[in-house]
Symmetry: C2
Subunit: 377 residues, 2 copies
């Protein structure tokens, strides 16, 4: 269930309810690919840093430990100790980006595992079955995420097929939710818009999927190398055709600025590996822009990463200590940095929601959209 409780321009302040709880939107989902957050961060830690929705990857969990193992363990919520809302992706993106030799047919995709080269088949039904076994609250439809750039004819052909795959996903998802041993019978399904960077294909595809009985709609296949403005233009083109009463999810995006700009264009859900990946390389977010904590200038700096931040790293540790941990190659560096950056993103969303509540989002956007992606002075 989704309700838009306030708008400012196209930006939406909403509340989303799913089997494991209520989500205030706009929301950034925190990525725990293999049922754990990279950087030694557990589901319990996520609670501490304001995470509302955990996102895990179908492809990875299907390969290891195997979705049937997860089901036997009572589902992913129970296995990883997360009792809040959870989304699983469809596996599609990884099948097309991580795996070796792959062969796409109408039925689905045959590909080689990136772990051991084993040949695996995944189609819409398999993706739904795996996600049903994982027991997430939101399953994502199985789609083809085409490369960028890709020829018009190929993209057209692909997004027609992705439409047919969505119909199959819906049927299989409905069937699975009715099975007596279903892990999470209230699991929802989001459809995914594709069409590469071709606005007409994007709009055609969005119009085709909008009437289907999905619980939300995502825009997929962006932030894969195209210029940022192209991404914004596509959101601008697609958004008017997305149902007003269902959540919109921009997959795999992005920088704080990208998120603010997409919220301004009517997007409600986000996810991205960037804050955790940047953290592991020492690039940390502050409300004055980004800093590289490995820099010599922090050697004796007793301030926290961001003096205004109340994350577990900033509450207790100095920049100088964190810099030392990175220099010394201590895993604790990764953990503290990841906790900080994820907390920052969750806090960013909280401030966006507050601005929307107060009708000051446009002001917030003017102040922070440029600033947050820049290096701090």
């Amino acid at each position: 269930m989704f309700e838009v409780i306030k708008t400012e321009g196209r930006a939406r302040r909403g509340v989303f309810t799913c089997p494991h709880g209520t989500v205030q939107t706009p929301v950034f989902m925190n990525v725990g690919t293999q049922g754990a957050i990279k950087g030694a961060v557990s589901a319990h830690d996520l609670k501490e840093i304001g995470c509302q929705v955990e996102l895990s990857n179908t492809y990875h969990l299907h390969l290891r430990p195997g979705d049937k193992v997860v089901k036997e363990l009572g589902g992913l919520h129970k296995m990883m100790g997360w009792d809040g809302p959870m989304l699983t992706d469809s596996g599609g993106f990884q099948v097309f980006s991580l795996s070796g030799l792959r062969k796409i047919k109408e039925e689905g995709v045959t590909f080689a595992s990136h772990i051991d080269g084993r040949r695996i088949f995944m189609g819409p039904e398999e993706s739904m079955q795996i996600q049903s076994n994982l027991g997430s609250d939101i399953a994502m439809a199985f789609d083809e995420c085409v490369e960028n750039p890709a020829p018009y004819a190929y993209v057209k052909h692909s997004c027609e097929r992705t439409y047919r795959w969505l119909e199959r996903c819906i049927a299989e998802h409905e069937r699975l939710n009715q099975q007596p041993d279903c892990v999470n019978p209230g699991q929802m399904l989001f459809g995914i818009n594709q069409g590469g960077t071709y606005e007409d294909l994007r709009v055609w595809h969005m119009k085709k999927i909008a009437p289907l009985p999905c619980d939300g709609f995502a825009i997929g296949g962006l932030a894969v190398g195209e210029p940022t403005q192209v991404m914004y233009d596509i959101i601008d083109a697609v958004e008017p055709h997305m149902p007003q009463d269902k959540p919109r999810y921009l997959m795999g995006v992005g920088t704080p600025s990208n998120i603010i700009e997409a919220v301004a264009r009517g997007v409600d859900f986000f996810d991205c590996v960037m804050p955790a990946r940047n953290a592991r390389h020492g690039k940390l977010y502050t409300w004055n822009g980004t800093i590289n904590i490995k820099n010599e200038k922090y050697k004796l700096d007793e301030q926290p990463i961001d003096p205004t931040c109340d994350c577990p790293a900033c509450r207790s540790f100095s920049r100088a200590y964190l810099r030392h941990l990175f220099a010394a190659g201590e895993m604790l560096a990764m953990r503290l940095a990841v906790l900080h950056n994820l907390h920052f993103y969750n806090e960013l969303m909280s401030r966006i929601r507050k601005a929307l509540d107060e009708g000051t989002f446009e002001e917030f956007r003017q102040t922070y959209s440029g600033l947050l992606d820049k290096k701090a002075e």
Copy 2:
């Protein structure tokens, strides 16, 4: 200050007080080599798992970030966020085990940094100065830790010099504690017994250092490859010559069984990297013996590592989840495993103390000394 409050045979139940608090003994000190515990564990986490004394390494911190940097940051307690008792080793062990080409003279040791090959000189005065800058509660005397085996004549020569070095340590330590900018003016100093595996040299050396004004005495240079029984025999030989009213510290030891056996021989303080290192390789301690969590048989095992354990890993996560994290190469595996094993060691010491309090230590020893080092059935 140290008080033995109860004994059972030669085993001692004591209370030790230092500038950052009171320590119940026998105690196992948790190792945070570079000012952080390997496996993404912070000083705050140590509080959660019952750690009483944190131990950091002088050699590592001298090289990185540099003890003068630590002093400028207010000392190691402040830098790493640990407000409890802290011991620093002398650097001696690492100088002799980690560093490249080294040259020992009466003044001290010239050695090559294992990080960048830089030539560094460390003698008794330098070790005291570095530890004073770190601001630990207990500084360890600078000694030579001879290889095992080593010729009698060499060991005799070496432990005579280590005696002279201890006299210099005491003088320098006293001088440093009186400096107006001293980080921790209440810092204590423990002397270290050496003598290789030669009982007569060990006893000679112990008798020489026992009258010196140290706050405690350690037995160093054991658990470096000699048979376990040889280690026990040396403790048996040395212990009668150690002051009754000062704590005894067996350096770098050991397995749960080693610790129980050494407590039975009158030892109060322990430290070892083994529980954390084993954890990182998936070897976990339980009250039924050790398990290898990577084993296939734990794939669907929903029990915690040890059903009787209340560590942060066992409270929330299953063997199956931990096994998955190891298989998937997630850092979280390291963190949870290290938290468990360190908690186990701290709990082991707690149970030893309880048994001593209740006069049932010999019974405890009979039950657990053999069991805990074995594989669980």
